[in-house]
């Protein structure tokens, strides 16, 4: 992982996909996004924690969908008409994330990206802050989130 991160940082800017959880804007690196789909019909996962919506069928591949709002303890918007699932590919693993709204693709110069100190345990799922003229956007550390949904059945 570290190696690819370093490579990215040598570039001038990074492209992000911005989306909304409740009123706040969040972003993830665009190169991890495979596609965006409307919320699918999910099959619930027995004994799973609440933030796991279930599993879905994406053209023959079964993948897990997580609710990013539940995961980050954010109250979802009342109007779910624009809710969407972003399909990510992380190290060959596909995973879907339910969000309130997709905003846009945005380019951030490296100077506008400020990473967050990783040692602070309370911000483990935020990787950094993206600054623009009128607001700031949270850069979500997806690998960290996915890493943390280790299943007890697997661990045993």
């Amino acid at each position: 992982m570290l190696k690819t991160d370093e490579k990215k940082l040598t570039q001038e800017s990074i492209r992000f996909l911005e989306f909304q959880l409740s009123e706040q804007t969040y972003a993830v690196e665009l190169n991890k996004v495979r596609e965006v789909i409307p919320p699918p019909d999910c099959t619930p996962v027995p004994k799973a924690p609440k933030f796991i919506c279930g599993v879905m069928n994406l053209r023959g591949t079964v993948l897990t969908v997580i609710d990013l709002r539940q995961k980050m303890s954010i109250k979802p918007l009342e109007n779910q008409a624009e809710a969407a699932v972003i399909i990510f590919e992380l190290n060959g693993v596909f995973i879907g994330a339910l969000v309130d709204r997709i905003n846009k693709v945005a380019n951030y110069e490296l100077t506008k990206i400020q990473s967050i100190c990783k040692s602070e345990t309370d911000c483990y799922s935020i990787r950094g802050v993206l600054k623009s003229e009128d607001r700031i956007t949270m850069w979500i550390d997806l690998d960290q989130i996915v890493e943390n949904i280790a299943s007890p059945a697997n661990a045993a």
Partner: protein, 564 residues
């Protein structure tokens, strides 16, 4: 090592492994037909090829020993060395060592090996220390010839004139008559079969939609047929012939019979029978065990065979064929057969069964699958340690297969393995639990019965039991696992594990069909017993549960009587 070099080395290793398996049977054939110069030519080309490429990618040790082997082969080719048993043994050792090196190198590209022993043996043979004096005069000439040969090859590469090209093309066309193969990554195959699955779902929907329009019926039929064919083809892509595994068995037969001084005539049938590669991989070890057992315990020593009026050569037949959706492999010998009385006596002396227990013929035969059971008084290199047949049984059962034995004392024994053709498709029962559908492998279900709630007995610690034909079984509720409530009337699946029986309650049964097994994605196996997922005809993913896994800790050991 940079990435390119690693890739180069890995490519070489894969190719080498293919070459080695291909050439193995030639080595064995050589033993039977030492005069056949074509066989020597094939092995020589193999060694020459391997030497060149291994040196090119920097595996000097492989190139060193193949160089020595090449020397031996060259002299055999020129009639300077006779093909004796010893020579063949050493050549086989050489092929073993090379294939081991290749496998080890695949795991660690920097592996080093001690090769001095085999190099010495090979060079001893090449130098005529195998009691045959080579014609020393001839050697320099040979080297010159070889050098010339290599030059010619180089020239071809540099100046491909029309004639040469045409010859090469002709040659290639000759080879092309056989079906050509290419290497494809398994993940790509999986992607194709995933998409095919989706195509079939869409096709079903489309079919329903179009059925209102009669004009389209011709297109519809053609389309449906095509879809079916695409599905069949995509499933068949992962199938490989069983040949490679049978080749390994030839070798096992040869080595084992030599150690035990037995004479074997091996017959192989159906080596082109196809089976899923993943099944085949897990089948090799159990088969080796069975074949070794047949030779060690089954087939008698030559003089004993002659005394009993049998042919000096023991007959061992290994055959494979398809039967419905199963692969059947039979290992059949004309040896002494299994002595049921002896088995029972040993089982008693080892306290596996009670002193006065009476066993049926089948039960007595089943004893050989008991862990720690061995009838051999003496532990040999080949068998007799009492590990083996129980492992064989477990392996076969974990593949979803069964093993049957039939044996007549003095006439011989047959081991029959019945296996699913693929692990990718299972026979599944679709059941409803807590408003959710799940799939349970049919092979785990012994029986399905309906039970009224007033027929459930409560234990003191919250356990529940049901009574079925004189047996009392523990009753487990799947919906407890889903943490949801079940309705009143229940349907019970009687689940059979290797050691026990118990009942599992479900809400309803929706059907039965063959399902394609897909892995459970990350973040979906929180519940015990989730072994995979599958996509139903409506496109919805559901979980496949291994019920023997969930209730492993069921305490009550039930004696279960068949419905018969």
């Amino acid at each position: 090592m940079d990435e390119f070099e690693i890739e180069l080395k890995n490519d070489f290793l894969n190719e080498a492994l293919d070459l080695i398996t291909e050439v193995e049977k030639v080595f064995i054939q050589l033993e039977n037909e030492p005069e056949n110069s074509e066989l020597i030519n094939i092995i020589f080309r193999f060694a020459h090829n391997l030497k060149g490429t291994s040196r090119a990618v920097g595996f000097d040790q492989i190139s060193q020993i193949t160089h020595e082997a090449e020397n031996v082969l060259l002299k055999i080719k020129n009639g300077q060395i006779q093909v004796t048993q010893y020579v063949i043994d050493i050549l086989l050792q050489f092929s073993d060592i090379v294939s081991k090196m290749v496998i080890d190198l695949k795991l660690d590209l920097n592996s080093q090996f001690s090769i001095s022993e085999i190099v010495e043996k090979l060079s001893d043979i090449a130098n005529g220390k195998n009691k045959i004096v080579p014609d020393v005069q001839k050697i320099p000439q040979e080297i010159q010839d070889m050098a010339k040969e290599e030059n010619v090859i180089e020239m071809h590469a540099k100046k491909p004139n029309q004639e040469v090209l045409k010859n090469e093309l002709d040659k290639k066309q000759d080879v092309k008559k056989e079906d050509e193969t290419i290497r494809v990554s398994l993940s790509r195959l999986e992607k194709l079969s995933n998409m095919t699955g989706e195509l079939i779902i869409l096709q079903a929907e489309m079919d329903q939609y179009l059925s209102t329009n009669t004009a389209s019926s011709k297109i519809r039929r053609a389309f449906n047929k095509l879809c079916k064919e695409i599905q069949d083809t995509s499933m068949s892509l992962r199938m490989v012939p069983i040949q490679s595994t049978f080749q390994k068995l030839q070798r096992v037969v040869r080595d084992t019979s030599k150690v035990l001084n037995k004479k074997i005539e091996l017959k192989i049938e159906g080596e082109n029978t196809e089976v899923d590669r993943l099944v085949l991989e897990q089948l090799a070890d159990p088969l080796v065990h069975i074949v070794r057992n047949s030779i060690d315990h089954g087939i008698e020593l030559p003089n004993l065979r002659l005394e009993t009026g049998k042919n000096e050569f023991g007959m061992l037949k290994i055959s494979a064929y398809h039967q419905g959706n199963n692969l059947v492999i039979e290992v059949c010998d004309d040896g002494a057969g299994i002595d049921r009385e002896k088995l029972t006596a040993i089982a008693k002396s080892k306290k596996i069964i009670d002193q006065n227990q009476v066993l049926s013929d089948e039960q007595a035969l089943e004893l050989i699958f008991h862990p720690g059971f061995s009838t051999k008084e003496k532990v040999t290199e080949v068998s007799g340690r009492g590990v083996g047949m129980d492992v064989v049984k477990t392996n076969i059962e974990s593949l979803g297969g069964t093993i049957e034995i039939s044996s007549i004392k003095g006439v011989g024994s047959t081991f029959k393995l019945i296996l699913p053709l693929t692990l990718a498709i299972i026979d599944g029962l679709i059941v409803d639990v807590a408003n959710q559908k799940i799939v349970i492998p049919r092979s785990q279900i012994q029986e399905i019965i309906k039970v009224n709630t007033n027929e459930i007995y409560n234990g003191v610690q919250g356990e529940r039991f049901i009574k079925i034909r004189e047996s009392v079984l523990t009753l487990n509720f799947l919906s407890d696992d889903f943490k949801r409530k079940s309705p009143d009337c229940i349907i019970c699946l009687i689940i059979k594990t290797q050691t026990n029986y118990y009942a599992v309650a479900v809400d309803d049964i929706s059907g039965q069909r063959q399902v394609v097994v897909k892995p459970a994605p990350k973040g979906s196996n929180f519940a015990k017993g989730v072994v995979g997922t599958t996509i139903l005809g409506n496109g919805k993913p559901v979980f496949i549960f291994d019920l023997t896994e969930i209730y492993k800790k069921t305490k009550l050991q039930a004696k279960y009587l068949d419905a018969a």
